[in-house]
Symmetry: C2
Amino acid sequence: MAESQGNRIIVVGGVAGGASAAARARRCDEHAEIILFEKDEYVSFANCGLPYFIGEEITERSKLLVATPELFRNRFNIDVRTRHLVQSVNVENKTVSVLNRESGEVSEEPWDRLILSTGAAPITPPLPGIESENVFTLRNLNDADAIKAFIAEHGCQKAVVVGAGFIGLEMVEQLHHLKLETDLVELQPQVLPPLDPEMARLVQNELIDHDIKVHLGTAVVTIQTENNTATGVELGNGTQIAADLVILGIGVSPAIELAQAAGIEIGARGGIAVNDFMQTSHPDVYAVGDAVEYQHGVLGTPQRIPLAGPANRAGRIAGQHAASTSADPMIAPMGTAIVRVFGITAALTGLSKKFAELTQRKNRSIIVVGKHHAGYFPGAQQLFLKLTYDPESERILGAQSVGREGVDKRIDVIATAMKFKGTVRDLAGVDLCYAPPFGSAKDPVHIAAFVACNDLDELTRIIEVDADLSAYQILDVRSQQEVDTFRFPEITHIPVDELRGRLGELDASRPIITVCHSGMRAYIAARILQQSGFEDVHNLTGGMLMQRFARPELFE
Amino acid sequence: MAESQGNRIIVVGGVAGGASAAARARRCDEHAEIILFEKDEYVSFANCGLPYFIGEEITERSKLLVATPELFRNRFNIDVRTRHLVQSVNVENKTVSVLNRESGEVSEEPWDRLILSTGAAPITPPLPGIESENVFTLRNLNDADAIKAFIAEHGCQKAVVVGAGFIGLEMVEQLHHLKLETDLVELQPQVLPPLDPEMARLVQNELIDHDIKVHLGTAVVTIQTENNTATGVELGNGTQIAADLVILGIGVSPAIELAQAAGIEIGARGGIAVNDFMQTSHPDVYAVGDAVEYQHGVLGTPQRIPLAGPANRAGRIAGQHAASTSADPMIAPMGTAIVRVFGITAALTGLSKKFAELTQRKNRSIIVVGKHHAGYFPGAQQLFLKLTYDPESERILGAQSVGREGVDKRIDVIATAMKFKGTVRDLAGVDLCYAPPFGSAKDPVHIAAFVACNDLDELTRIIEVDADLSAYQILDVRSQQEVDTFRFPEITHIPVDELRGRLGELDASRPIITVCHSGMRAYIAARILQQSGFEDVHNLTGGMLMQRFARPELFE
């Protein structure tokens, strides 16, 4: 590896991407001069831990300070200057203009290589009342301190969280942990908009089970105030909610102002455009983290992916390349993300069904319901897994999972297969750990792949979870007891074990959908029918179990 | 898919592979005649659950019966004949000779396709006393019933388990659960022989912490008896151990007698030779499960892999191919396996370091010590991860992990990357789930890959965990407090944060090894030295933490 001499590297922003870049640059070039400017007080703090600190699941504030300016100085010989705001970048002279926020002094600092890790800013819509002292966003430790202080000082009892994305849900959980009565407002008609609606419904039910009031498909139109303090919100649907504090978690916009003003290229999605080595349109200026657009591993186009994992990996690459002009290229991220919501976990990677539709990709989706470890072993928990794939290339496009245990593992396995552009057939043969406390000989990942392969091979024709069923005769092959519990209004009921002897009860001229609890018996039934003269037979993926969430209005 | 007519399929053996094959054959061909012969009473029972049933972690025996003969008949129209022993196979006439063990009758049954899932038999060495009523092997439900009954009837207090492989360790744990005082005897100088010794030592310590007496590098030479009842064992090293029962878990040998007598090819490893569709040397005879040799995903040669996962997947392929003459090929397994031993989990995939050496492959190994989720989030548990790779192709050859939480996920992710013949550089960029309760932005999997890449790029030169250190000066860069706790006898001690100012204390003419707690600070120190005129600098992988297990004699 080439190691340059006389390299002056300036890093702007000292959290995930910037801190990773600075440390990696030092390890690659002991002799570079490395200066890190951070506009706030802290560097390398645990951004993702903030909700848990507010909710007192993390009790020691010091634990959030992953690395201090002192450590950067002593261990890495990096000149960390906190409370220093980089105001402008001059790419011709290769300088930055920096405001010392303590002294008010402004200085010009030269660089040979510049790494921008400017992050993103929480979106705050121009609502009446938005400036109230108890309307918060959550981005840094100061925000968390302010929220904690306000709750403690005012003995808050009621909160409204606006936005049911990852941070919104984490805040709802943690406010509940603090025993605040909490309402959640989301503009989309579902919680966790990155998920498909029926998967999100599993999360919504968990919220409702914990007494969270969920308001979907509506927005906050006014924040009601008294003396610059919010007292409640009014929603577009007319609902009034009293509140002692309001948390906004409706997304972030990339902090591109510095780059833009310097003439650095901004991508179509509004983030800084970078190549695989995190170089911007100016080869000596790098950018990483929430401010950039990454090549998306499935879409193959630049996308904003404001997540900690890619930021950290990109920082490492930028730091190495800035220090030594070579590095392994960034491996395209796929938006793999996860959230714990009370007792359940929701995770996804790649494209949801609805996003595949939105981007006009050919796609098919199947859903399986499995156990996180052997069903006969104590404590087995139900796990929903949805797999979306391209029916032509057979490539996996995405996966979503919701359950109480083992969700992270399944999504990580599928995300790993997707890194290699794996197909559903590849996934059917991955050699996973198995012992009863950890999984099953046929893991839910395998079962999902098997079902997808059966669909591709037309061994069974999958009907997707939200398909219009009105043209079909529905053959329910569950037991009488199961059918009595809940069922579609109009069904033909023949338990699977009796089907071979009762084929005459079906109308062979009409298309048939087979249904059971989760899909396995319906598949067996569909195979029997397909080989017994019934030509138009389909199997409803995810079974009645998933229908409860996909079409709740039918069963509530 | 072609669906044959008039196909008579006989399956021999009704557990994992055979049951999967029969059910899949039916789904692929509704009209085939399918007969399943099982020599014992049960089909499709949960083999892997038996230790937990003995130890009463699984309390309901019925839960182990995953599918009954009745279910096979009603749901799959499969003619299941239990207590029927297939005595011989005639490949010319395409018949089997079957003994009805109830009636004593022998019949000839014709087949068009035959699927052998004959399994394996526990190895029982010809020791004096081996035939005693309380010397058990564990293979099927009858064995488990017998062990349970004996313990209950005789109020057993003391057990000896022979063999520290997967089943041996599961039995030790479960006998301890029953409050039996338990000794474990293993011929190899370590527990869990598939692991490298220092990783196995982590498991051994957990056993010792639970008062298991572990006897390594010695074998049982005599089983002492009174009235056909074992009263103890004598080991090769002279140790005498009293025992109320003895469990043998020293491995299995493939049940190939039927195939061999029929002239079907047996492989070099003693298992039935099969192709990727599980066809034997006779194209209408298939074989699956513990009796066969699978193509090994890393070695690329046929190997016996007597595990449930491959058996189930192979059964499915054989069943489909036998029914319809086409199927996706078997994806080569890699021996991915896992075991829970009290509070810890040990898992591996692919080759260990020692197996890579044994098979004369170029290899390098690194060890990282991480946390199973964000270190600042409550409950983070330490996890050891060893990655073995080919330094030329950079391909991952194997991984081993031991820890209290999250071990299965890391090994599954690496096993998935290995399915695609992934390199350590691929692994560095996998896009995994991250939120504080589930992982870290840089997961231990990433860190392991980063370290391996640094090793390949000579950014740091890794010294492996068991290397001879005598020729090196050892630079310990930990804090004074850490050094005082335990250290190598001869070290130069300079804390990493002081190193830049104290380079003069080192002898630049001698090769240096840097060490710290787990390897990170030692890596930073090595980078400083390598770029400051020290030419021969190495970093001890896994740090002092791993040395405690690799060279316990130095620190005990």
